[in-house]
């Protein structure tokens, strides 16, 4: 501790001590170190301030000597203050923290907090913080919650902060709290896609309440419907809705599971009543009918086989008629989407082309 003067080991980054600090070249506790200075670069003329270049000389020297000590820890704090993206300084800092033991680890939380207040989007900062938090283990959960909340309050889509929360919850296992946090942020801003992603992340990992999966999913769909009602054109809940079926078991393993829940159709219909040219609602509506058509083709093929291959059989005809109706409904949703969102017309055409094989398969069953 003495090497860093009156400063605590980790706290030297910010705020700056009162009055200009002594240059390293004049500090008695650094007198035993010979700074290493490299002649000016020709190609990349990096303009270091006098202060930075003074510290850099000593930093190069300790990197060479491999010293890991409280004074080196304080020196890295200065180096990071001069340039937060100096990944070599961060690396030396982490090695010091590991060498100095648990006390240094705890004071890193204050240090990284001070850096975060200056720039909450620095990769090195979040990597360092994660190394510290994970070394502290599940006990870190409360502090990391407060830390990331602070960053997220400032920027609700701060990628690093949300990723940090994911890393922490994997260790702490507090899935219900994380789900509640995501809900809180979705409540604050229903368009926050990052919060929706966090909700999905939680659902993928936490055990489900109750034994009835379908009832659970219907409750989740109600939640989505509520969010869509607030802002029907908001991309986030629509992607989340289709994502539920594509990601979560058992639905991800079933063919066209989305089309087996009429709730989906109802959500689309309600959104379209509110907002007739709602492209994402038309997109999901089309997917719903396309799925119905595909399921119908499979059913008709089974019925044909059961009827001994006689194409005129009543049940086959009925199933085929159902398929053709679903294809037509999907087509008209896509046509409307093309009008509502002409910028992405090629996408809507592509989706329509995808319906042609279903129609052809259905018609072939009647021949």
């Amino acid at each position: 501790m003495s090497a860093a003067g009156s400063q605590p080991a980790g706290g030297a980054a910010a705020p700056a001590p009162p009055g200009p600090p002594l240059p390293y070249a004049q500090r008695p506790d650094w007198a035993d170190v010979t700074p290493v200075h490299i002649p000016e670069e020709a190609v990349v003329a990096i303009q270091y301030t006098a202060e930075h270049s003074d510290a850099l000389g000593y930093f190069r020297a300790v990197v060479r000597s491999g010293e890991l000590s409280p004074r080196v820890l304080a020196l890295t704090a200065d180096m990071i203050r001069f340039n937060q993206a100096d990944y070599t300084a961060w690396r030396v800092r982490w090695r010091c923290v590991q060498a100095l033991g648990p006390e240094a680890l705890a004071s890193e939380l204050d240090f990284t907090h001070a850096v975060m207040l200056e720039n909450a989007k620095n990769y090195q900062l979040w990597n360092h913080r994660r190394l510290c938090a994970l070394q502290l283990g599940a006990a870190c959960a409360d502090r990391e919650d407060a830390f990331t909340r602070e960053a997220i309050a400032f920027d609700e889509k701060n990628y690093h902060a949300w990723a940090h929360r994911q890393a922490v919850v994997r260790v702490s296992g507090r899935w219900a709290a994380e789900l509640a946090f995501a809900a809180e942020l979705i409540e604050r801003d229903v368009r926050n896609n990052t919060a929706w992603n966090q909700r999905m992340f939680c659902l993928q990992h936490m055990p489900r309440e109750g034994a009835d999966d379908a009832a659970w999913l219907r409750r989740e769909l109600e939640y989505v419907a509520g969010a869509i009602a607030k802002a029907p054109r908001n991309e986030a809940p629509w992607r989340y809705l289709t994502g539920l079926f594509a990601t979560l078991q058992p639905w991800a393993g079933q063919p066209r599971a989305l089309s087996t829940f009429p709730d989906v159709h109802q959500i689309c219909q309600e959104a379209l009543q509110e907002c007739p040219a709602c492209a994402p609602a038309l997109d999901v509506m089309a997917a719903y009918y396309e799925g119905l058509a595909a399921l119908g083709v499979a059913r008709a093929q089974q019925q044909l086989a059961a009827a001994g291959g006689a194409p005129g059989a009543g049940p086959v005809q009925g199933a085929v008629a159902g398929v053709l109706h679903a294809v037509a409904a999907a087509n008209s949703a896509l046509e409307e989407a093309g009008l509502a969102d002409p910028m992405r017309a090629p996408y809507w055409f592509h989706r329509m082309r995808g319906l042609t094989p279903l129609q052809a398969q259905a018609e072939a069953l009647l021949a």
């Binding site: 190609v43 990197v63 100096d86 990723a163 994911q166 992603n197 910028m343 992405r344 996408y347």
Partner: protein
């Protein structure tokens, strides 16, 4: 500068000399002479050497060994010996080794497994498993899959729909839903659409207008949004985006290699020539070399 046909305007000897001075004995390159080696700067160094057709200035085996050494047991790559895990580094590793013709040094199937595990419900990709899809990140994942000839792992329609939804009413693209448009996404998103043959899914004239609006009429650079300060990154992303859309007067850029098409062709010829005569069974495992042999 290559895309603009003006590579000769810079001092080649000084640049190459400086790049080589940033190399460490372990083969990796640092951001400057005093910095430790890092994946990002190692790739940049190799790309610069490739642009100048001077790959012979480094010991490819040593550089490749450094990169391969950063692969983790789960197939992912770290940025450096202490650094974070990120799909960005998977791309850096695959591209670096593809340029050097040394992809056989890593476990490619495991690298692909890790990238797949970062795939999200919207078809996009994040930094590590579970992280939100982000346009910058999806470029690195699609680029890596393309280099490894593994695009079958992409949910093409779902993902390209996500990509073309990134175009805002202003013509520019954003990186995530409800974020601001920014010139850099012209590269991140467009390169993916180009790799996946869906470039026509976005409104190209509108995007071209947006990029040109971000040009600084006096100093010539390109900024992230109209009327912001131009910088070297957004200038590259803007030019590269225009190049992908076939803007007149620009050299074509390869969307997966992020290098001029001419340079990529030269690299592939070079690697094909150097692997002729090498053991055929090694070649069979090297996805990059196999791709080179096809062309």
């Amino acid at each position: 500068m290559y895309l603009l046909g003006r590579l000769g305007d810079m001092d080649e000897a000084a640049i190459l000399d400086w790049v080589l001075r940033c190399q460490h004995p372990n083969g990796g390159f640092g951001g400057s002479e005093r910095n430790d080696p890092h994946m990002l700067y190692t790739l940049s160094a190799v790309q610069i050497l490739a642009l100048y057709d001077k790959l012979e200035l480094v010991d490819a085996d040593r550089v490749a060994a450094y990169v391969a050494g950063l692969q983790q047991p789960d197939g992912s790559f770290a940025g450096d010996a202490w650094g974070e895990i990120d799909t960005r580094f998977s791309y850096c590793a695959l591209l670096c080794l593809s340029i050097l013709g040394r992809t056989s040094l890593i476990n490619v199937p495991k690298a692909l497994d890790f990238i797949s595990s970062c795939k999200n419900f919207d078809g996009g990709f994040g930094c590590t498993p579970g992280n939100e899809s982000h346009a910058g990140q999806v470029f690195t994942c699609i680029g890596a899959l393309a280099l490894a000839d593994a695009l079958h792992l992409v949910d093409r329609d779902l993902f390209c729909w996500w990509l073309c939804e990134r175009q805002t009413s202003g013509g520019g693209l954003n990186g995530r839903p409800e974020k601001l448009q920014d010139v850099c996404y012209s590269w991140w998103c467009l390169s993916c659409l180009s790799i996946l043959d869906r470039l026509h899914w976005i409104d190209r004239p509108a995007l071209t207008r947006f990029i040109l609006d971000c040009q600084d009429e006096e100093d010539g650079g390109i900024s992230d949004r109209p009327d912001d300060m131009a910088d070297v990154y957004h200038t590259f992303f803007g030019i590269a985006g225009l190049s992908l859309m076939g803007y007149p007067g620009l050299q074509a850029i390869d969307p997966a290699w992020a290098l001029p098409v001419e340079v990529v062709a030269r690299i592939k010829r070079r690697n094909a020539a150097s692997t002729v005569g090498a053991e055929a069974e090694v070649q069979a495992h090297a996805v990059g070399a196999a791709a080179a042999a096809e062309s």
